[in-house]
């Protein structure tokens, strides 16, 4: 499954014989770990462990360099190691243009306090991990634990890799790796349609243009006492087809009791949005109330079009705050005055 913290959640078990293996596998299958359902179990020979290490490579946004992290305190939550015993977590920035050298990796392993007989093996693992991070366009490549066996062999037992969606065109072989069975069905559909959509827990459907404005809309709705059902960035497009597609996605979530359209028109023209919405309504005929806030380019014209169309249960708002208050009231089943 594509989520970290499996061991902590009880998703990794040691079995002594076949009976125990069946019992543990049975318990793990179907288990819910952070909202993901376990559908497959990996069974392998238990390794004898002399030491457990932690190793990762990630993109350090602040330093704008790759960061290698290593600790001899492996097998547990690394955020805890970083917090409680920061001296045991070695952090080493790699020059993004030259990559990591074997000498650099040796130095990291030495600083980390690795037993001298496995320093070479650990350094090899670090270099290999960096190569994976680089070649696969990963934002994170982590081995935890990286173990040393009693016969002094260095082995990777478990790992986690995060890939960059923007680089998927370079890795067609990675396209099929997403866990579509555990993906939210609406999020999966949105991805197929190329729409930025994130499902949330609430009952107010949200659509806006621009990622920042949509994030801000979620916050303003929450501050007004409401609970957003989703993030949906309609982007720059405003034609009827795109708006219909977005409304369809919003309403695919049965929890939605009211919808807020928050448009600040820049290049997007509010009259086009209104026209698109009117056309979409003719097709979809939503059963929940809509609040539409049109501001910016051609906003007066857009609001006039909506008013003339007299769409059932559509309310116009001028400002973001006003729109948020209206949609929260509507979701709670309250009356908010005349429809647009």
């Amino acid at each position: 499954m594509l989520i970290g913290g499996r061991g902590k959640a009880g998703g990794v078990k040691l079995a002594a014989d076949e009976r125990e293996t069946r019992e543990h596998a049975g318990n793990i299958l179907g288990m819910d770990i952070k909202g993901h359902t376990v559908r497959k179990v990996w069974i392998e020979h238990a390794s004898d462990i002399a030491s457990e290490y932690y190793a990762s490579v990630l993109l350090d946004r602040s330093a704008k360099q790759p960061l290698v992290m290593f600790s001899t305190e492996g097998g547990m939550d690394i955020e805890e190691v970083a917090e409680k015993t920061p001296e045991k977590l070695i952090r080493h920035h790699v020059d993004a243009l030259t990559g990591i050298s074997h000498e650099e990796a040796l130095d990291i392993a030495t600083k980390g306090g690795v037993d001298s007989d496995v320093i070479d093996g650990v350094a090899d693992a670090l270099v290999a991990l960096y190569e994976v991070w680089l070649e696969e366009d990963a934002t994170l490549a982590e081995i935890n634990p990286l173990i040393v066996t009693p016969d002094r062999e260095v082995k990777a037992l478990d790992s986690k890799v995060s890939l960059d969606d923007n680089a998927l065109y370079r890795h067609p072989e990675n396209q099929g790796l997403s866990d579509s069975e555990n993906e939210d069905p609406i999020e999966r559909r949105a991805k197929e349609e190329g729409v930025q959509y994130v499902k949330l827990d609430g009952d107010i459907g949200i659509l806006g243009n621009g990622a920042g404005l949509v994030m801000s809309t979620l916050d303003v709705v929450a501050q007004a006492g409401g609970s957003p059902a989703n993030f949906l960035d309609a982007g720059g497009g405003s034609n009827a087809e795109k708006i219909k597609q977005a409304v369809d996605l919003l309403l695919a979530n049965d929890a939605v009791k009211a919808v807020l359209f928050n448009i600040f028109g820049g290049i997007t023209r509010c009259d086009e949005v209104a026209t698109g919405l009117i056309a979409a309504f003719a097709d979809i005929k939503p059963s929940v109330p809509f609040v539409v806030r049109l501001d910016g380019t051609n906003d007066v014209e857009g609001r006039r079009l909506l008013q003339e169309a007299a769409l059932p249960n559509v309310h116009a708002a001028k400002t973001m705050n006003e729109a948020a208050e209206m949609v929260v009231a509507l979701a709670a089943g309250k009356h908010v005055g005349a429809a647009a």
Binding site: K64, N166, R170, G210, G212, V214, G266, G296, M320
Partner: protein
């Protein structure tokens, strides 16, 4: 004054012959920006409404001496276009393109730092820069802004228009609006642009609009405390964003317990920066700090 783009801007556009590239280049020229050329490999010798097109940045620089590049090419070609413009000696590169792989951005950032320290990159995945009344480079709708003394720096486009419009309705104008973009490895950070506004004689107050992900806002808080004499008012988007979910922008993601809106707002407030809870409140704090009355310069 203003920062980064003004009457002295000589703009050349990578991807000028594409649909979006043509549309926005002409928009920028209509605003008054001096557009001197475009670059599309294989289309040298053509022109776009009188703007000469070159095969390479080297030729463009030799012929029309641009000091500013705008990048409008698709993601897979954008990193090389940025580096080519920098190698040709263009001092300011503004990358509008969204969807560039993070590893490419890392390579671009570090190559610029090592080989082309004289070139500043703004973006990628940004709306560009507008200095009202002087020049517009990018896709910011200029009609919502007028010239004045508020500097705006933001990771988000539409959110900037929202806040800027409310400031304008209160009678204030902007010196420059700088979109630094929503990607994980931006060429310029809040700190870089805050420094430019601090040095700009016209700017009296800066509005900083941040969002979840990374630690650029926290770094800005430290910088403001140590280096800014001008007031800064901030807004942070994404308080309701769940951890581990990318919210539209590639860089807008809470990783574990890092990069939350609450932590950013706290870091800023701890350094005395006032943080608006909504875009509207942010604009009204800015107006209050400026004295409430219009002091727009034009």
């Amino acid at each position: 004054m203003s920062v980064l783009v003004d009457e002295s801007t000589r703009l050349c556009v990578a991807g000028i012959t594409g649909r979006e590239g043509t549309f926005h280049t002409l928009n920028n020229r209509n605003y008054g920006t001096n557009v001197v050329g475009g670059v599309t490999p294989g289309k040298g010798g053509q022109d776009v409404e009188g703007i000469p097109v070159f095969d390479s940045w080297e030729q463009a620089v030799a012929d029309v001496k641009p000091n500013t590049a705008m990048i409008f090419v698709p993601p897979r070609f954008a990193a090389d276009a940025i580096l080519e413009a920098a190698a040709a000696g263009v001092a300011l590169v503004i990358a509008i393109t969204e969807g560039i792989p993070a590893h490419d951005e890392l390579r671009v950032y570090n190559t610029l730092e090592r080989d082309h320290p004289g070139t500043r990159l703004i973006g990628p995945n940004c709306p560009g820069i507008l200095s009202p009344g002087k020049a517009n480079v990018g896709i910011i709708p200029a009609s919502f802004f007028k010239a004045g003394n508020v500097g705006v720096v933001s990771r988000s486009g539409t959110l900037t228009y929202q806040i800027g419009n409310e400031i304008a309705q209160a009678g204030f104008g902007c010196s420059s609006i700088v979109g630094i973009g929503g990607d994980p490895v931006p060429g310029s950070s809040f700190v870089d642009v805050l420094g430019l506004f601090e040095a700009d004689a016209e700017t009296e107050l800066v509005v900083l609009s941040g969002e979840i992900g990374g630690s650029a806002e926290e770094e800005a808080a430290e910088y403001i405390a140590e280096h800014m004499s001008k007031p800064v008012v901030a807004y942070i988007a994404g308080f309701t964003a769940p951890a581990g979910k990318q919210m539209g922008h590639a860089g807008a993601i809470v990783s574990g317990s890092a990069g939350t809106a609450a932590a950013k707002a706290q870091a800023l407030e701890a350094k005395g920066v006032r943080v608006g809870r909504t875009p509207t409140e942010t604009a009204s704090i800015a107006v209050e700090v400026l004295g409430g009355a219009s002091v727009a310069t034009s």
